[in-house]
């Protein structure tokens, strides 16, 4: 969104550039638009000198960078690190590794305009250029760590939903194109996708990047393209095998009660918001009560029953 539109009392729609804000911004006057972080660097550069600041970081990306470290990681919060640090150092040293001893799967940097990096990028020195080369970006400075419980097509859809909400609607590639991207991703995560859809995703994403009016649209396909590049197998699983390995895509999974493990306490049925669980007439050997069963046509896959079962009798398949 261009600076100044809100200040001028307008809808926040991008204007054509040039002219850039530095030439003509708020009220047509030269305007300086930067992130708070950039401005925050100014005093320390003034007091300690440019040479000191430049001594930190890499050849092309000087100084430090603040990241918002979040996600499935033990230590979350804002971190300030020198440019050139590796993802491994951030995730395993500062972040203290993945929560609950799970496996690292991906790290999303740069916010909805950025991309997802994988284990193969763990030792890449992070700076502006290397992130772009890896298919992501510095962007917002967000750094969200994901483990195997995250589904990458679902993550791409999550970001596209955000972009669709934030699209101003001025240019057709962003207004309609992102909507269509999101719909294709929904098809895939619902188990209705085809291999042609994956092809269409790529072409449409590339055209949106190439034709959108502003930075939002030009970068909105990044989560799609980077997950297609780095997690192609997971897309294919959704499309061909109709499986979500992370157990996230509700339409691709069902909740099942193991009748041998079920002691028939009925706690799952009490907690079920849609009354999808009932008692069978089968009592497993060693148990006093008949086991429970889930009617998959009623189940909304909310997960309440799993949380309520103390005997590990309910699983997702």
């Amino acid at each position: 969104m261009p600076p100044g539109r809100e200040l001028e009392g307008q809808r926040g729609e991008p204007t054509l550039k040039p002219p850039f804000p530095a030439v003509s911004g708020y009220m047509g006057k030269p305007s300086n638009v930067n992130n708070v972080e950039t401005f925050a660097n100014v005093p320390v550069i003034i007091t300690k000198g440019a040479a000191w600041f430049s001594s930190i970081g890499t050849e092309k990306s000087k100084g430090t960078k603040v990241f918002a470290l979040a996600g499935q990681i033990n230590n979350v919060g804002l971190i300030e690190v020198p440019m050139g640090i590796t993802l491994r150092e951030i995730i395993y040293e500062i972040g203290g590794g993945i929560k609950n001893g799970r496996q690292f799967k991906a790290v999303q940097t740069g916010g909805p305009s950025g991309g997802c990096l994988t284990a193969k990028h763990l030792d890449t020195a992070i700076d502006y250029d290397s992130l772009v080369a890896a298919g992501s970006m510095m962007g917002s400075g967000g750094m969200v760590v994901m483990d195997e419980t995250s589904c990458m097509p679902a993550i791409a859809k999550f970001y596209l939903e955000f972009t669709c909400e934030e699209s101003c609607g001025k240019c057709s590639p962003c207004r309609i194109g992102n909507k269509r991207l999101c719909e294709i991703l929904e098809k895939i995560t619902d188990g209705r996708g085809t291999m042609e859809d994956l092809q269409e995703l790529r072409n449409l994403a590339a055209v949106i990047k190439d034709t959108a009016l502003c930075g939002l649209g030009q970068t909105s396909p990044n989560p799609v393209l980077s997950t297609l590049d780095n997690f192609w197998d997971e897309y294919v699983e959704h499309v061909v095998d109709k499986k979500c390995r992370a157990g996230v895509c509700k339409k691709l999974m069902s909740y099942v009660i193991d009748r041998e493990k079920c002691i028939g306490c009925g706690k799952c049925a009490k907690g079920c918001p849609v009354e999808a669980i009932s008692r069978t007439d089968y009592t497993a050997p060693g148990h006093k009560l008949a086991s429970m069963v889930i009617d998959s046509t009623k189940c909304i896959k909310c997960g309440a029953c799993i949380n309520n079962c103390k005997f590990g009798a309910i699983s997702i398949q």
Binding site: L16, C171, P173, K179
Partner: protein, 588 residues
């Protein structure tokens, strides 16, 4: 000058030229959708939103919108690389994926820019399926809105806000839900819309169309108990030919009269006749006000013309404090209706309810003006139906006629004869010039040394002049676009610092010739220019060129009205205006 190559062809264009213009100047027609410009008429819509005109610029990361990217020295532009064609097609496919495919029944079938773009790009199927936008259909008496078809080009919004300053339409919502609508997506008729219809004229698709009244007219013609007469406005005759493949600016007055007769109208009359009548009334009113002013009596000056119904609604909604400034003279359409129902009906031996008056107008606002309650007697409107130039063309084709084949015929008498002063009503400055020709001679008692007032002609949005009325410096102004009219009204609120006596206002670009009911010009301002040339050609060719010399006009005053601005003409030929502004009424 800037040197660049477009599709490997070296070209040279002035600095500040866009790639789009540079290409068009060199025979390369890059397709566009949202871009719309009326060259020299102060209208430009360039949001850079549709992305249809994207081109490849060497060294640039992404594709560039040709409409909004200026040329640079050494630039290398490709307008039809595989990357460009794929992107352009995909963008149009996306637009089509959120557009109803009812082209066959669409009002814009054959006139739709999205349709021709689809054809040009060879799009045979739409790969994208998904949610489509649906909105409530809405209509005024002039404009029909089907926003399911909106492509968000924003032309209507720019027209409504920048050119007209009517402020009825705005981009609302955002993302996929974004659309152009009145506040709260209320009915257009409940908004500040003035029914100028220019949103319809500039809409590239069928989202904004006219309200089609052809069937009603056909039914009236078929009704044996009715006598159906028709009047045709000045600007229609210089544009109707375009609908039949004639060159813009072809004058088809005689052929049009012949076609109207063959369509079954009982009498074919001319709004030009009542334009002459308007000059008699309005000119007399002006001279009356000037006389009072010279005598030091309180009087409202400047006087504004009141022929343009969009303008009338505009001041009723926006300047309720200044309603005494515009002339009280009805528009030529209104005057014709009043004369037809009061004077003509008895002459033809029919009751007023059995005389159906149809008008052919270059305008969509006339459809709303026609229905004004004060222009009716006991619920019977003076003008029963108003068709636009485009509807007349449809009707002619529907009735198996071709305007090209028509003989030249005259209008019927007594409401058919007109002067050159009447035909120029169709162009900006024309009403002023016509009024000056008459007012000068009536006021001074002398013959005009030069009949052509070049000061009032041309496409400048605001023209000013001081006319020597035999020693009296008459200060006049001529404006088109309601934005320019608004500035004039604001001057009046500030006490008329420029001392104007008479101001002509027309809402549409170039006046009625650029009206919303005219054949679509698709932003080709040359078409409007050609129509204007034709208007002045028609004027120059007329044996009589001053309204007060029209024998039929002189006759009706002698026989019926007595004198201009007399008792009977006040009753029939003048009107009054209403405060239609928003009121802030606090409740307890």
């Amino acid at each position: 000058m800037i040197n660049l190559t477009i599709d490997n062809k070296p070209i040279q264009v002035p600095e500040g030229t866009t790639i789009l213009k540079a290409a068009r100047m060199n025979g390369i027609d890059i397709p566009t959708l949202c871009h719309f410009e009326l060259d020299g008429m102060n209208f430009e819509n360039k949001p850079g939103g549709c992305r249809v005109c994207v081109v490849e610029v060497k060294g640039r990361r992404n594709l560039a919108p040709a409409c909004a990217t200026d040329v640079m020295e050494g630039m290398e532009v490709l307008t039809h690389s595989a990357r460009v064609i794929n992107a352009r097609k995909t963008v149009v496919e996306l637009i089509l994926s959120d557009h109803p495919n009812d082209c066959l029944q669409c009002e814009k079938n054959g006139d739709c820019e999205l349709q021709s773009l689809t054809k040009r790009l060879g799009i045979k199927e739409i790969p994208f399926k998904g949610e489509t936008s649906t909105y409530r259909k809405d209509s005024t008496l002039s404009v029909y809105r089907d926003m399911d078809k909106c492509v968000m080009c924003r032309r209507c919004e720019t027209m409504c806000n920048k050119f007209m300053t009517a402020g009825a339409l705005s981009g609302v919502n955002r993302g996929f839900q974004a659309v152009v609508a009145p506040a709260f997506e209320q009915n257009l008729g409940d908004s500040s819309c003035v029914n100028c219809g220019q949103c319809v004229q500039v809409c590239p698709v069928g989202a904004l169309t006219l309200v089609d009244d052809i069937a009603k007219v056909m039914n009236a013609i078929a009704d044996p108990t009715k006598k159906v007469v028709v009047q045709t406005a000045p600007a229609v005759r210089v544009a109707l030919g375009e609908e039949f493949g004639m060159k813009p600016g072809e004058i088809v007055t005689g052929k049009m009269a012949a076609a109207l007769r063959r369509l079954g109208f009982d009498q074919v009359y001319d709004t030009d006749w009542s334009a002459d009548l308007t000059i008699m009334e309005e000119g007399t009113e002006l001279l009356g006000r000037l006389k009072k002013a010279l005598a030091g009596e309180p009087v409202k000056l400047p006087m504004f013309t009141s022929c343009c119904p969009a303008w009338v609604t505009f001041y009723e909604k926006n300047f309720p404090d200044l309603l005494e400034y515009p002339s009280t003279a009805k528009s030529p359409q209104g005057m014709f209706g009043a004369v037809a129902k009061n004077y003509l009906a008895p002459k033809l031996g029919v009751k007023r309810e059995d005389l159906v008056v149809v008008s052919i107008m270059p305008c969509l606002a006339k459809k709303s003006e026609r229905a004004r309650e004060e222009l009716a007697v006991n619920g019977d409107s003076d003008v029963n139906y108003t068709l636009s130039t485009r509807e007349l063309a449809h009707m002619i084709r529907q009735c198996n006629l071709d305007l090209n084949d028509m003989p030249e015929e005259d209008f019927d008498s007594p409401l058919g004869q007109s002067t050159g002063a009447a035909v120029i009503f169709g162009a900006t400055g024309g009403v002023m010039e016509a009024a000056l020709r008459t007012a000068y001679e009536v006021h001074t008692g002398k013959t005009l040394p030069k009949i052509d007032f070049m000061e009032t002609r041309g496409f400048d949005g605001v023209k000013e002049a001081t006319i020597d009325f035999d020693g009296f410096p008459l200060k006049i102004a001529v404006v088109y676009s309601l934005g320019n009219a608004r500035k004039m009204m604001e001057q009046v609120r500030q006490g008329n610092p420029n001392g104007y006596h008479f101001i002509e206002v027309m809402a549409c670009p170039g006046g009625c010739i650029g009206g919303a009911g005219q054949p679509y010009h698709h932003g080709n301002s040359d078409i409007i220019r050609k129509r204007m040339e034709a208007i002045y050609r028609e004027d120059a060719g007329k044996p009589i060129r001053k309204s007060h010399e029209n024998p039929e006009i002189l006759a009706i005053y002698k026989e019926y009205y007595g004198e201009p601005c007399g008792h009977l003409s006040h009753e029939q030929l003048h009107t009054h205006y209403f405060d239609k502004s928003d009121k802030l009424e606090a409740t307890k």
